[in-house]
Amino acid sequence: MVPMQYYLLVSTFMMFVGVFGFFTRRNLLTILISVELVLNAVDINFAVFNRYLYPEHLEGMFFSVFSIGLSAVEAAVAIAIIIVVYRNLENIRVTGLNKLKD
């Protein structure tokens, strides 16, 4: 059986890729994808901890399923926002989104 650490390494890597992408990308869609990466890293952690530490329970599995559902909803909302942003600004660069400051 693959040791648990490997899974955790993959999820940690995904998590920081997501964080890095969230900070550096200027395109709203890529930022959204980065957020999804962070979320999926967490999902992996849930599944792995459940499988390895408490094999007789299913809460972690259900939580990750629940989280996937939530992220789908979040993606729908985010994309709706992005579409509105595009209609207003003619692009989806995040640097353009500072109108509230003025």
Binding site: F22, F23, I31, V94, L97, N98, K99, K101
Partner: protein
């Protein structure tokens, strides 16, 4: 007590009229609004007379005095356990007498104003203010305690301010109203401090001294101070020297207002105040009372001298009012006991003179108003020979002049005679001085009379339309009040047994005329009138002009009112404004304000430095957010596992 509950209407009716006309007056035709106020005032007068009738016909107490009735005394504002601010109605002989004076004169003025103010802009506003004034003045006299009196005292000040400044487009009227308000307000500062000292040491504001006799005795030593400060307020309202300077300027207001407020009612509030506090003065501060008397005597002389040379007829009357109020204060000031037979006569004399003076001075002002109405000028030089054109005004004015000069059987003679008797009892010097002032009074009043109605024949001036129009008698709505007041002036002196109702200890006192004093004062008055007749009756002013030349310095000083206004101007502008206000203003601007400006500047600079964080860029916020999480995580780990684990 319940039988006097209707007296509350005396206050509520004018208040209702004020609110009604103030809010909705402009929806009515001017005349309708005026009639509403006048009818309301008539109703108030009837109630006041009814109250007075019932009060003075009620049974006297065992010691021969009238019971002091307090039909209402509502705790309005408790300051402490015992010290409360009450609102109520107190009926005793002097407050009932004042109710009659105020409502009578106010009703006459209301009726008269219907004619005098006809066609003026703001007719409704005028009547609303008159109602406000009447309400405040009535509230002042029926006050159950000194604080309520103070409240209404300020209210009459405000209504006086509003009415002096009635012609608010006229700069001189605005200046006069401000002057009146500021001068009296300044004096009222003393009044307020006196009230607070009194309340602090005695623990009650009530006028029922007998209830608090112990507390008052315990506070003995500060009572003179408190009363002295209160008198300053009274001197301000009653235009005593050195606060007299607002009253002549107050003549900028409409003439009926001068008659009501600045002759008959409001300006005697100071006299009324002293009368109210009379038992305290006699008991604890007779010296303060005497000082007030000396000030009153000086003011009476001072104002009488100025009145002799003024040329504006309303100013002459204003200075005459100041002088007569001086008489009333003197009468109170020479009192040495509450026994009317031994040294307490002045109290009765003062109230009597207040009563008669209100009638004949209102008459004089209303008569002067009719004259001004006819010739459209306040200056004597525009008048003369009016007796042929204005018979009613002439006749009533003459009666009033005779009354104020002290010729029997007109009312002024009786009251002035009592004052003179009281002053002679106190000191002969004072007595002769006041007799001399009485002579001056006769002189300046008849100077006024001859200048208006005799002297040179009236110059007929061509009006704007080219027609020569002769002065004409005022309409009936104006002459009827004149006739009524003249009738009162003729009879109140001897018909009303004044001393029976009002005396210093409340028991009945039979006024008897001291023949020596009476004859002296009549002779002096006749001499005064005679001099005025010689000097001013004819068309030539040879003697008058000669005197003006020979006494040039005194004459000019008197015309300039002895430069008191200039002295005030100098003190306020050159000393107070330049030496105190300006440095204080500088300190405020450059030190106090600068400190807060500095604080604002620091905040501004600091904000400029840190506002870079607020970039509006979501991602930079997220970076801060991440670092924050990392820091919190590090801190938690540090707390949980200790510093060595991290290292």
């Amino acid at each position: 007590m319940e039988q006097y509950s209707i007296t509350l209407l005396v206050l509520l009716l004018p208040l209702a009229a004020f609110l009604f006309l103030g809010l909705f007056g402009n929806r009515f035709k001017p005349l309708t609004a005026g009639l509403i106020a006048t009818i309301e005032m008539a109703a108030t007068t009837v109630i006041a007379y009814f109250t007075a009738f019932k009060y003075f016909t009620s049974d006297r107490l065992a010691d021969g005095t009238f019971a002091t009735c307090i039909p209402f005394d509502h705790v309005w504002l408790p300051f402490g356990k015992t010290l409360t601010f009450n609102m109520g109605i107190l009926l005793d002989p002097i407050s009932v007498m004042m109710l009659i004076v105020i409502t009578t004169v106010s009703l006459m003025v209301h009726v008269y104003s219907l004619g005098y103010m006809k066609g003026e802009k703001g007719f409704q506003r005028y009547f609303a203010f008159l109602s406000l004034f009447t309400m405040s003045m009535l509230g002042l006299v029926v006050a159950t305690n000194i604080f309520q009196m103070y409240l209404f005292w300020e209210l009459v000040g405000v209504s006086s301010y509003l009415l002096i400044g009635f012609y608010y487009t006229k700069p001189s009227a605005i200046a006069a109203s401000k002057k009146a308000f500021i001068v009296t307000r300044f004096a009222d500062l003393g009044f307020l401090i006196g009230i607070l000292i009194y309340g602090y040491y005695v623990g009650s504001y009530s006028f029922e001294y007998s209830v608090h006799i112990k507390a008052i005795a315990a506070a003995g030593t500060v009572i003179p101070l408190a009363l002295g400060l209160m008198i300053i307020g009274g001197a301000g309202k009653s235009a005593m020297f050195p606060f007299h300077l607002w009253l002549p300027d107050a003549m900028e207001g409409p003439t009926p207002v001068s008659a009501l407020i600045h002759a008959a009612t409001m300006v005697v509030a100071g006299v009324y105040l002293i009368a109210r506090l009379f038992p305290l003065f006699i008991g604890y501060a007779p010296d303060v009372l005497h000082i007030a008397g000396y000030v009153g005597a000086f003011t009476a002389l001072f104002a009488a001298v100025i009145a002799c040379v003024q040329t504006d007829i309303k100013r002459v009357l204003a200075f005459s009012t100041i002088s007569q109020i001086g008489f009333m204060i003197v009468a109170l000031g020479v009192s040495t006991s509450t026994d009317p037979h031994h040294g307490g006569l002045g109290y009765m004399a003062s109230m009597f003179h207040l009563f008669t003076h209100a009638m004949f001075k209102a008459l004089l002002f209303l008569g002067a108003g009719a004259v001004i109405h006819a010739v459209h000028s306040n200056e004597m030089k525009d008048m003369g020979g009016l007796r042929k054109y204005m018979r009613v005004t002439h006749f009533t004015f003459l009666i009033a002049c005779l009354a104020i000069a002290g010729i029997p059987p007109f009312s002024g003679f009786f009251s002035k005679d009592e004052i003179l008797v009281a002053t002679f009892m106190f000191s002969p010097v004072m007595g002769y001085l006041m007799t001399f002032i009485a002579g001056l009074t006769a002189f300046y009043m008849f100077r006024l009379y001859y200048n208006i109605f005799w002297a040179k024949p009236c110059e007929l001036k061509a009006g704007h339309d080219g027609h020569v129009h002769t002065p004409h008698e005022a309409p009936a709505v104006m002459t009827v009040p004149l006739v009524i007041l003249a009738a009162l002036t003729c009879v109140v002196g001897y018909i009303v047994p004044f001393g029976k109702f009002i005396s210093s200890d409340g028991s009945a006192y039979h006024i008897h005329i001291d023949l020596k004093v009476a004859v002296t004062s009549i002779v002096v008055a006749v001499i005064g009138i005679g001099i005025a007749r010689v000097m001013y009756r004819g068309a030539s002013r040879k003697i008058a002009d000669g005197l003006e030349r020979n006494f040039g310095l005194l004459y000019r000083a008197a015309v300039k009112r002895f430069y008191i206004d200039e002295i005030y101007q100098f003190i306020t502008h050159k000393i107070i404004f330049a030496l105190i206000s300006k440095p204080v203003a500088w300190f405020d601007r450059h030190v106090v304000d600068a400190f807060f400006d500095g604080l604002a500047w620091i905040a501004h600079v600091a904000a400029a430095k840190i506002k870079g964080l607020q970039s509006g860029n979501v991602q930079s916020y997220a970076v801060v957010f991440l670092w924050g999480i990392i820091a919190i995580m590090a801190a938690l780990l540090f707390i949980t596992f200790g510093v060595f684990w991290l290292l």
